[in-house]
Symmetry: C3
Subunit: 156 residues, 3 copies
């Protein structure tokens, strides 16, 4: 039993699959896993719908452009305005491969620790009310403390 | 002597150079190196030409769009429809810097362990017959077992 | 007190923020930090203005396209020809979040070790005179020696 940390910087659907697949694999082996969501990765933690959060005009622009939940994030190649993601999700369903939503639910059931990066939330104009419940909020010092205890640390 | 693992998620030419350069450097220092190719990184393992593999229509779309070998992958900046990659390769040749094909050959001669991620192969519709010989096929559990033994683990 | 290494492959503004934020955080905790700048990440080390360095035509093309310093690098999402970066920088200023230039200055004051990858400099046609002073020049063997001593190694 050991610890793994994953910085989820990218909000792309395929990279989220990779991050959560590694997390689930490690949790299944009884490892502890801490995922630190920063910048575009925060998309994966957003609640669907609009939240009532006060924002500056510029913050509204960024948070308005960001996908509102994992299932609507683009893929990093051949996205074609979302068509690529839709195709990828269809192939995954045919092959009984879990969606990002399912992978995240599975990781949470197995006790993953999810941390939202507070500095990125400020930069992108994302408030706590817009993110899913049951997560923690912290900065780089917390990430580093976790990473110091881990034997595998990835930046995705 | 220690172990290194590299997840090769991206199939971009410049990132493949980075991955294989690190692998070769470590192998030259008598380290063990395991490279785990997943998603677009699988491009680097494809045999040239068409393979006779059964695919669904959607799988055909993805695997058809994927570059058929490392030397035709795009670069992550200034690719301009392949022109950027061609220029980069020309500069590398003038400077006697090895191509991805040469770097991969060198890594294999030095005993790198190459693993193709079976889940990604399913998602992208890539069959074993389409990939080069002498590699292993496995999932995230195998990657994690390797990473647990390594002192440097990178996600590229 | 331990050591961290960060490979800065990407030259995108948001990824540079991530890299330098982690570096500053670790330095504040009295860790040693080595940042290895390779490929597009070299943009962050460029001096403003033109340098008098001999280049081949192809090298001129690449180095001419590369941003000339950190503050003009694109962001990885919603860049819109630099507008997205400008917006991000404005939001950061409003929130009193440090720019990449400030983060780099802070990291240097705290003793970060910055290494420019000599192979990438050859590929992209970047000479020593074009890069900021007080940095080291080395290849993958030096990176690996540093990584072997570190407990956290990231590829950004």
């Amino acid at each position: 039993m050991s610890k793994k940390t994953i910085i989820v910087f990218s909000g792309e659907y395929d990279r989220l699959i990779a991050a959560f697949t590694i997390a689930n694999g490690a949790l299944a082996m009884d490892d502890e896993v801490t995922m630190f969501f920063t910048f575009w990765g925060l998309s994966a933690l957003r609640k669907p719908g609009k939240a009532d959060v006060k924002k500056s005009f510029l913050q509204k622009m960024f948070s308005g452009m960001l996908p509102h939940r994992a299932e609507t994030t683009p893929i990093s190649n051949f996205n074609f305005g979302g068509m690529g993601r839709a195709l990828m999700k269809k192939v995954m369903k045919q092959g009984n491969i879990m969606s990002v939503t399912d992978l995240m639910a599975s990781a949470r059931e197995q006790g993953v620790k999810i941390i939202a990066c507070t500095m990125s939330m400020d930069v992108l104009g994302i408030g706590k009310d817009e993110l899913i419940d049951g997560i923690e909020y912290a900065g780089v010092a917390t990430y580093l403390a976790e990473a110091d205890e881990a034997n595998v640390n990835l930046f995705i």
